[in-house]
Amino acid sequence: MHISIEKRGYVSKRYSTTVYLLSIFVAVIISSFIFLLRGVNPFYAFYKIFQGSFGSAFGIKETITKAIPLLLIAEGLIVAFKGKFWNIGANGQLLIGATFSTWIALNYGPTHSAITTIPLMFIVGFIGGALYGFIPAVLKVKLGINEIIATLMLNYIAEDFVEYLVYGPWKGKTQYGFPYTDNFPPSATLAQIPGTRISYITLIIALVSVVVVYYFIEKTKYGFEIKVAGENPHAAEYSGIDFIKMTIIMMLISGGLAGIAGVGEVAGIHRHLTYPAQVSSGYGYTAIIVAWLAQLNPILAVVSALFFGGILVGGDVIQTSLGFPFSTINAFNGFILIFVMIGNFFTEYKIKIRR
């Protein structure tokens, strides 16, 4: 018997969509089996996760709350990934954006009204994230330094930096020794939909970012360049595309969007800067899967973000009700990514068996 793998020529949209959905479904089912490791019935755990996130009004609100930063970051990652720049550093970019806006909140906020403070915080947050995305971009185009390691190292550095701030010079005087900064003044906190932790502004910005990123990639010449460079860097060189300019613009946007997510977290959810794991909640990593699952499509990312927002909420649920550590969700997400990749394979290739 002889098994061979052959490329498929053309596949219909219907086929590829079916395979895609099927692979997500299979992924979720199989990934649930990790719960067996602690003796929990996978279907029960699975049920608990989705009941927690979509089965109640509270759950849905929390899902959206988490989906917003995921969506923001994922949109930024889509821009970077389309250009094959592996930005693993969204966590760090988020933290720096959060830090910059914290400074505004605590130093400018108390003496100014919300009308000036809030926009300033967002602008500064974008700039912070963008700058932090600029660094690995430059390192790559000027020195050829692998962006995966560079962004990862920068993540750790950003985390340690925030830790330094909240345990040290920025430690709040009113926080009883907890590693938080002082609470933000009212002019620096975001208004939320009553009964939820969803801030109007970040929700709007997130949805706007979907449109902006879509338009940027599909309609502008920069988007075209990113597509070409991501698909075939040689052709991009041949065409005379300016890699340096393109990479930098790409990463400014990617980092900036992550920075905005950071502002949303500290100004909306926590109302102060706190220790890094709390602020970022690992969104930078989860967003990678969000983007990939959306097949780097800016509009599908909305659905993908809601899906993973739900899983994260579910993660909280199984932590409290089933005693699983939160990192379980990481394993779950990792398996989903693997199975989606396997699913992708079947849209491009078919297996032929010959006697």
Partner: protein
């Protein structure tokens, strides 16, 4: 060190059938080769020769049909199995590990080599073979340091040391100078005298007659006929290859070249390893003129093309287009001056395979009016342009939305040519434009270049196909080691003279 191999008496293929998505490469091919024979497999690019050989060598498996060795049916499921049966292959594109030494390359996968320090003993064996058969090569040299001819010798050594009795050579002279090719033919005759069999794939008629022996002609995946060099004439074989009378002469009008468009002065360019690939080159190209660059690949042609199109740094010297200096100006700016580039590796550089035809149509001009206005793309205009190109150049594609990678090689090349020559036709740099294309596409592209020449473009044509160069060019420059050995009139120069220039033995 040699493999224990059964004696080779004959190889027979019966009704071999192989298809790939969209094309039947081998359509019920039957063939027989006996020991001690030279068997030429003649056909145009795309006739199915390489696929068939890959089947014999176990790289592909046929969809249908059988293979018999010494009368017994066999399944060749991998190169390893093929080697056990005494079949060896020297591919057109060498399969060598560039960063390793000759000995390491020969040792790879060679059973019977020592586990510890295998290269020492292999080196000794290589020296023995070298002296016995005359295939001289330094076992400790790294592959990237060797010339194409020497690398080919390594490939032949690999096959022989694995006990190959039947050796398949796939277009072996495509990378050799005429003199190196003669050396190769001597080696082949030597091997055949020793009892080896050789299958020789080629599309060059002269070589078939120089070697003599049995000839099988393939066309579009089928065997047209199997005969010998004694029984058929060149014209008959050519007709079988192509299916019609070959036009050995394309209509090339006599055009008086106009003013100088391209002027190159004292050009010096380095290659990727930092060595001089081009040393002090001087030439011009005029309006309505085709300057052909002949020469074996690797003598600086690639670097010249890249320097002219802004893809490679110029260390010294100047390049002027219509009087303006353009060296080191960058691909985009040079393109703006009307310089188009038909790249050697069309899929790697000329298109973005996963993007649709219409986006590939504006790969070079997307940022300009009318395709783009202040950074926003105008897809309506882009698609209109793509439709125009597809129509004018008869590009076969289901639609302009089709991903470029699904087009055939010839149509991809047509798309590239269409795109380039429509918007930029002051100076056309064409690198191996018909390489790997079928006869129809080849003819189309050659006619297109002549048309552009008539319209006043200055054209630089780099090609390994001497026939193509001589047919199309107004002047021919022979490149060797980064210099022009001579710039000659194709109507007046002889093949021997060109061969000597290509090998660096003569200047004119």
């Amino acid at each position: 060190m040699e493999e224990k191999v059964t004696e080779f008496k004959s190889l027979e293929l019966k009704d071999i059938y192989k298809e790939f998505p969209g094309v039947v490469a081998n359509n019920r091919i039957s063939l027989k080769i006996n020991a001690g024979e030279i068997h030429a497999l003649l056909g145009e690019n795309g006739a199915g020769k390489t696929t068939l050989m890959n089947i014999i060598y176990g790289i592909y498996q046929p969809d249908d049909g059988e293979i018999y060795i010494n009368g017994k049916k066999v399944f060749i499921d991998s190169p390893r199995t093929a080697m056990k049966y005494g079949i060896g292959m020297v591919h057109q594109h060498f399969m060598l590990v560039e960063n390793h030494t000759v000995a390491e390359n020969v040792a790879l996968g060679l059973s019977g080599t020592k586990f510890l320090n295998p290269t020492k003993e292999i080196a000794k064996e290589i020296e023995r073979y070298s002296s016995e058969i005359g295939l001289h090569v330094n076992p400790d040299a790294k592959i990237w340091q060797l010339s194409a001819g020497e690398q080919q010798r390594v490939e032949i050594l690999k096959a022989l040391m694995r006990g190959a009795k039947l050796i398949i050579l796939d277009e072996p002279t495509s990378v050799l100078t005429p003199q190196e090719a003669s050396e190769l033919f001597k080696t082949i005759k030597h091997l055949v005298k020793n009892g080896h069999s050789v299958i020789f794939i080629t599309h060059k008629l002269e070589e078939v007659y120089e070697l003599g022996g049995i000839v099988t002609v393939l066309r579009q995946g089928k065997v047209i006929d199997s005969t010998t060099t004694k029984d058929a004439t060149k014209e008959e074989l050519a007709k079988m290859m192509v299916g019609r009378e070959i036009l050995f002469n394309l209509e090339k009008e006599d055009i008086k070249p106009g003013e100088i468009v391209v002027k190159v002065e004292n050009l010096e360019v380095l290659n990727d390893k930092g060595l001089k690939a081009i040393k002090n080159l001087n030439f011009e190209v005029r309006k309505g003129e085709i300057l052909g660059i002949a020469g074996v690949s690797g003598n600086g042609q690639r670097e010249l093309v890249e320097a002219l199109t802004g893809l490679r740094r110029v260390e010294k010297g100047r390049i002027l287009i219509n009087g303006k200096e353009v060296q080191n100006k960058g691909a985009r700016e040079i393109g703006e001056m009307g310089v188009s580039h038909i790249p050697e590796e069309r899929i790697k550089y000329g298109i973005v395979p996963n993007l649709p035809v219409y986006e590939n149509a504006v790969l070079r001009d997307y940022y300009k009016e009318p395709f783009s206005n202040r950074g926003i793309l105008n897809y309506k205009k882009i698609k209109e342009f793509a439709i125009k190109l597809v129509k004018e150049f008869s590009i076969a594609t289901p639609s302009i939305e089709t991903k470029a990678k699904l087009l055939s090689g010839g149509n991809i090349q047509k798309l590239i040519l269409a795109r380039e020559t429509t918007t930029k036709s002051t100076f056309i740099v064409a690198a191996h434009p018909t390489y790997g294309l079928d006869i129809a596409a080849t003819e189309y592209i050659r006619k297109l270049l002549l048309q552009k020449r008539k319209e006043g473009s200055a054209i630089l044509l780099v090609s390994e196909d001497l026939e193509e160069i001589l047919q199309l060019s107004d002047r021919v420059a022979v490149m060797f080691m980064g210099e022009f050995m001579g710039i000659v009139d194709p109507k007046k120069v002889s093949i021997e003279e060109i061969g000597l220039m290509m090998a660096g033995s003569m200047r004119m």
